[in-house]
């Protein structure tokens, strides 16, 4: 049911771990399916220079966590904010329909961590900053 890319990221997830004294940390739980993700960001001059994650969850949750961290590593905050769960799923060559909600976890955790970074540094939230609401997602 999973693509080869999903299985690759599940088997060899990139960027697993924690960052001590991270600039931003976000933890989100998906009440629908029990997946929980925590993401750690290191940010220098508006660039995400390092990112790590830990995920409790299904194959889709672990693979999207891994792929999402790869997609934002080295990117600007601005670009990272544009990351969507659909883009992550596409980069994984798709996810089964019932698993799309699991992929929201990564997008949400990333935004949570960025919000944490903004708050810690007294940076006002960028215009239009929103976090996806997992509970009301209909994917």
């Amino acid at each position: 049911m999973y693509s080869e890319k999903v299985m690759d990221h599940f088997t060899n997830p990139r960027n697993v771990g924690e960052i001590e004294n991270a600039d931003g940390v976000g933890t989100v739980g998906n009440p629908k399916c029990g997946d929980i993700m925590r993401i750690f960001l290191k940010i220098d001059d508006g660039i995400i220079t390092d990112v790590k994650f830990k995920t409790f969850g299904c194959g889709a949750a672990i693979a999207t966590s891994s792929m999402a961290t790869e997609m934002v590593k080295g990117k600007s905050i601005e670009d990272a904010l544009k990351l969507t769960n659909k883009a992550v799923a596409e980069a994984l060559d798709g996810l089964p329909a019932v698993k799309m909600h699991c992929s929201l976890l990564a997008e949400q955790a990333l935004k949570e961590a960025l919000e944490d970074y903004f708050n810690k540094n007294n940076i006002p939230l960028p215009e239009g900053f929103t976090k996806p609401d997992v509970e009301h997602d209909e994917d």
Partner: protein, 392 residues
């Protein structure tokens, strides 16, 4: 790579002796059992032989066995058939919170028709008591349906005692014995069971065949209308190859039951003890002794079931889980929630069900692989990280 099948509660491999009996039914004895010619008569003979084999295995009379397309149909027929038949007498049905969906969803459908259903809670082991059943019976109660053994946690319910309660109160008693047949000695008369569902593919027969035992004198509305097969109570040309396979399979498994249960129970307990010893923060779900001989169900904290199954599959081990993410539904197993497990622990459940092909080497291979997989997944789990830092 080694491949080890430990999902025998999902389905089983058709055993060679059964396949050997099925084959000529497809290629030689292929007549329609309703036909008058020789082809039909031979088919009819094979059909009735299978009926005798099934009846003998559960202490029933031959005329009390009706072949169906499987456990789900048997369950649907028993519940809908009895409820509709007895509608004038009452509208109350008693079942448990841990039944298979073939029962629970049928109950939901009956609720929409105006029937009232009591879902008895179970204790931490998944047991329901005859006292609970007795206390739930009202003058409106027309049917009690309680599974003989649970498909997820393997708990064996006190069916004979519940049957006695139902008999005392004159209430019809159905049991879903899909997981129990072949593994638990069954005598429908001694157990006071009025209806019993079974499914062939759970005991090494082909898929797509089952049976409903209906005690003589119990009337049921038909579920499937049509021709006069099964004495006009279940229409449709009989799936004779599968029926013959089920007859052979139930005869074999019943004859071997005692010895095989001893063997499986030893393997089961070796696996359970090994897992609990090697994996900290794991627990056994279900009853330690009142459980199916091949059933192992454990919860491993801080990891999620689907990723556990995928990891096991990569080393050739086939199991199943009560995690929401394995089922496509959004909640973890209703059975694990009913025995009181919190959601996140229910998500980390693993069911390994042993069968006749499994050996001690299989168990040892699991005990070698599983701890490594758990360690890897825990090293990725934020819940485990929190647990470890809280401990320090």
């Amino acid at each position: 790579m080694e491949r080890i099948y430990l999902d025998n509660a999902a389905t089983t491999r058709v055993r060679p002796e059964v396949a050997a009996e099925v084959m000529p039914i497809m290629t030689e004895t292929y007549g329609n059992a309703s036909s008058v010619h020789a082809f039909g008569r031979e088919a009819k003979k094979a059909l009735e032989k299978a009926r005798t084999q099934v009846a003998a295995a559960i202490g029933a009379k031959k005329e009390e066995i009706f072949f169906t397309a499987g456990g789900s149909e048997s369950d649907n027929w028993a519940l809908k058939g009895a409820a509709h038949q007895l509608r004038a007498k009452g509208n109350h049905i008693i079942t448990t919170a841990i039944e298979h969906h073939a029962i629970l969803h049928t109950c939901k459908a009956l609720e929409k028709e105006g029937f009232v259903v009591t879902y008895l809670p179970v204790d931490e082991y998944g047991l329901v008591t005859p006292e609970q059943v007795e206390a739930a019976i009202t003058p409106q109660t027309i049917l009690v349906s309680i599974m003989m053994a649970n498909n997820e946690i393997g708990t064996i319910e006190p069916i004979a005692e519940i049957g006695a309660v139902c008999k005392k109160h004159g209430v019809l008693f159905h049991t879903d014995a899909v997981q129990a047949i072949g593994h638990v000695p069954v005598d429908v008369k001694a157990m006071n069971v009025d209806m019993l569902s079974m499914s062939g593919h759970k005991f090494y027969a082909p898929k797509g065949v089952g049976a409903l035992y209906v005690r003589t004198g119990v009337r049921l509305e038909n579920l499937i209308e049509g021709g006069a097969q099964e004495r006009s109570r279940r229409a449709g040309t009989e799936n004779l190859p599968a029926i013959v396979g089920m007859g052979k399979a139930i005869e074999l498994i019943t004859a071997e039951q005692e010895a095989e249960n001893v063997r499986l129970t030893a393997l089961r307990d070796r696996l359970i003890q090994g897992v609990l010893e090697k994996i900290p923060d794991s627990r056994l779900n279900g009853h330690p002794t009142r459980r199916l001989p091949g059933n192992v169900n454990i919860s491993i904290r801080f990891i999620e079931g689907e990723s556990l199954l995928l990891s096991l599959d990569m080393v050739g081990i086939a199991g199943s889980s009560g995690s929401a993410c394995t089922s496509g539904s959004l909640d973890p197993s209703h059975v694990l929630l009913a025995i009181g497990l919190p959601h996140e622990i229910a998500h980390g459940s693993l069911r390994l069900t042993l069968g006749r092909d499994n050996t001690e080497q299989d168990v040892d291979y699991v005990l070698e692989q599983l701890p490594k997989i758990v360690e890897r997944l825990r090293s990725m789990s934020p819940l485990y990280a929190d647990y470890v830092s809280n401990k320090q």
